[in-house]
Symmetry: D2
């Protein structure tokens, strides 16, 4: 039951950093580098932290890279619809198979997060001069460990309710803003064998990923999302199971041979296909 080292991959766009002087000054080595630094700072030897960005070949999200990742930390904004659907499918499959996913800030509207949630993932926003306060509502949650109740982000983009997400499995933080809005700013979800954490702070114009509390929370989240021992079960498959299957072998043994369909069944199947294709032809879509 010893904890294996977590292999974290911080993924950023590295786009604003190329074109916006404010961001360049705030994050001279890119936001992803600052985020990675915070994880290293708090997890030390317990983690190896790599980075990748949209600008890397294959966006740094090749099958190999994803397979070598235990927890993916995700920041996106301008490329929400530009990551190829095949890559989004790859990420979803990997989360359902047990990879942790920490989605930051505007990543709420990324294709991968929306696909895992099944909802719009919309919200309200304002870029003004709001002070954000982050309140802990789940004081025994590991992601809240070591964080002060009611800590302040001096300047922050407002993200307000209604945040169109499924009810989080665990709600850890709620934020308020000077303007009076509130936001469920720290939310845990379990999807398949994977753990997902959404954390809202992180507008690119503010030095938020340099703030100690934020860095600690993200490090906590990486640790929480990591499973050193994955549950031995393949959720991607539908299993046909003989009576008593669980006594004989493992839950993931190959399925018994399918019963050979009778000639009648084969005929039925053919007729069935004809009916389906006939109806499909008439939708005009």
């Amino acid at each position: 039951m010893s904890d294996r080292q977590v292999r974290a991959l911080v993924w950023g766009e590295n786009i604003h950093e190329q074109v916006d002087p404010v961001v360049q000054q705030m994050y001279p080595e890119g936001m992803h580098t600052a985020i990675a630094g915070g994880i290293r700072e708090y997890l030390g030897d317990a983690a190896t932290v790599r980075t990748a960005t949209f600008l890397d070949p294959g966006h740094g999200l090749t099958q190999e890279a994803v397979d070598a990742t235990d927890v993916l930390i995700w920041w996106s904004h301008t490329t929400q619809n530009d990551v190829h659907p095949a890559i989004v499918d790859r990420l979803q499959a990997r989360v359902l198979a047990g990879m942790g996913l920490v989605v930051l800030h505007s990543g709420h509207y990324s294709a991968i997060f929306r696909k895992l949630m099944g909802t719009h993932c919309t919200l309200r926003w304002r870029e003004a001069d709001d002070r954000e306060i982050i309140w802990t509502v789940n004081p025994s949650h590991p992601i809240a460990a070591g964080v002060k109740h009611g800590f302040v982000i001096p300047r922050s983009e407002m993200y307000g309710e209604i945040f169109d997400i499924p009810v989080p499995d665990e709600l850890v933080f709620i934020s308020s803003y000077s303007g009076g809005e509130v936001f469920r700013s720290g939310c845990c979800f379990r999807r398949g064998k994977g753990r997902v954490f959404y954390f809202s702070p992180g507008h690119e114009h503010f030095p938020i990923y340099h703030q100690p509390e934020i860095r600690r929370i993200i490090a906590n989240a990486v640790r929480w999302a990591h499973q050193s021992e994955l549950f031995d079960y393949d959720l991607a498959r539908i299993y046909q199971s003989r009576t008593g299957w669980f006594e004989a072998g493992s839950a993931t043994a190959p399925p018994p041979p399918l019963h050979r369909p009778s000639p009648e069944a084969s005929e039925q199947r053919q007729r069935l296909r004809q009916l389906i294709d006939g109806a499909k032809a008439q939708t005009g879509l």
Copy 2:
């Protein structure tokens, strides 16, 4: 606060019914008709119940038909991948906008259910001679009203865990089978402004939709999933919100005009797009 009549639409495939004598004998007018009959039996004047099937033009799921539906009851099996993606998107949008959805039996693997869940929605199954017992674990839930704790379905297809769904917002029923498996057989989910209920019994070879307890539960679910007054908020949109917006007007007022981008911003945007397109060209996908 008076309850408006619920407009229910029972959707079936009507495919097995055309090709399989066992199903024809069990459900001479189609499974959808039996299901609709059960809802009428228990809801009476409180509901108008229509039916539609995969074999109808446009599968009976035109925009008009869907817009005129408060609660959609869904049974599918052989056509899971045959409903056009545009229709699935239409259904998802309508659920998120407040339509109720009651998904039955093999509908767990339909495109619409999987899209709303974000997970594999896989399970284990066996068509044998299992007796199923349905246990209530949420005795104050409206869907359990009037149902006996521990009622028996004499013959049923086994659906076993792990059922790869998000943790239900409310778990109402758990089933056991003669073979020893268990299943979370009655699960509520809230998605957007819509309410979704999954209920597992209903193999086409057994007279399950003629059984009183099953009919009562489906009728209860239709009632629960129906909202006579939808919350006044459009979740499909992202709102940019000025400070104090909520004091002035409604939550769904048109957004303020976007600030006109400066020449620098416009240049940044162009450069940004070039970077994105450049990186996309190199994924080879």
Copy 3:
């Protein structure tokens, strides 16, 4: 499945009203009367609404009165430790047996609420000049029906996190205050066969129970907490159940006779009691 009329009982202290001129002016007939008026206003013929107060004989909470109540609405502040434990037990038993309970404002610290929650039910507070804004985070919940997202209570007592409650089964509202605090202000709990809703607004110095949105929410809550048909199961009992009991009769049939203990068992029981009593004698408590 027709809805029976709900018998609501609004319970108040009627103490501040006797001694504090501010409260007398705000609620000349008592806060309980104002609250009852709001329920009548929105539920009309669907409810009969009575009131009772701490000052009534037996506090108006005799067994008969409680038995005749479907939903109890509770406001308390100065008498949290003055309701007799036997009455608190009576209320708890009735909630677990299916009565709805709507706890308002400082009732968070009442003996009945704390007993049902099992936690401290503490919070932070400030009586100042805070504006409270109530945000809906569960837009398909019946308690949110007809309420504007982001409505304002011009002056309100601040109730802030950490609110030491179990995670609510459903979180409906989150409040923010001018001072920056947040609070889970509308929370649903299921306990036994009963439904419990906590709603925080209601400081006695402000005309909050005259505000339309507040009245609508409390009326919605009464409706939600009411079950016209209680689940047929007695949760107060432990059932010894023979194999196959559920096929023979109802879930609440009398238990089979206990197996007659053998002489050895009887001897064991005696020895066991001696051991227990011996150990108890040594605690010095």
Copy 4:
């Protein structure tokens, strides 16, 4: 963020072991010793495991002993009403302050568990010849790590629904029995700053605590329930908070001096007390 060693205390009754030959043979050194052995086996140096029993002076639950415990593992059956209320209060306070609690088998009916739940905690039971199968429904939960999906306890006491508990914050295991019943056999609860896990297997007549899967689950639960760093907040207190308090100091700073009550207020308070005492005198309780 390094994990501190967990100080586990396994508490048993050690009563059946004194009087029942079947139990003596199965657990010659007591059930508590077997349970402790399983924790040591899987946690090794990560834990120090002590035991205490009802027969020890003060039941081994003095303030000192409890204060020195990070996670308490609890098995009780015959002494549910014999642990002194003051000790039960002590345990509850310690859980709410952050101690982990793992409640086993018939401990579902212990005073401490019922007090934390606020419900009856009743269930159905049968001591017969049932085979129990334990199914995992939360495959990314740390308590399920390393456990086979669908493992068998050859002989087990039946515990069946309805289990009258609040909806668990996390449902990890569901059991089925030969007789057809089901049970939510592994349930997580967060209460105050503490984490509580209930796990149902463990009838004293069967060698269940010698079974590897059971031992692994209990060890997992101890690890999950342990917090090496407790959240810095005292939930036992109600805080009066000045505007801006969170900017100045810590969340647990001493409260500001209470505003000195005016002579009018003092008079009001006196009158108020008279009213309360008058009404109490008339309840006849």
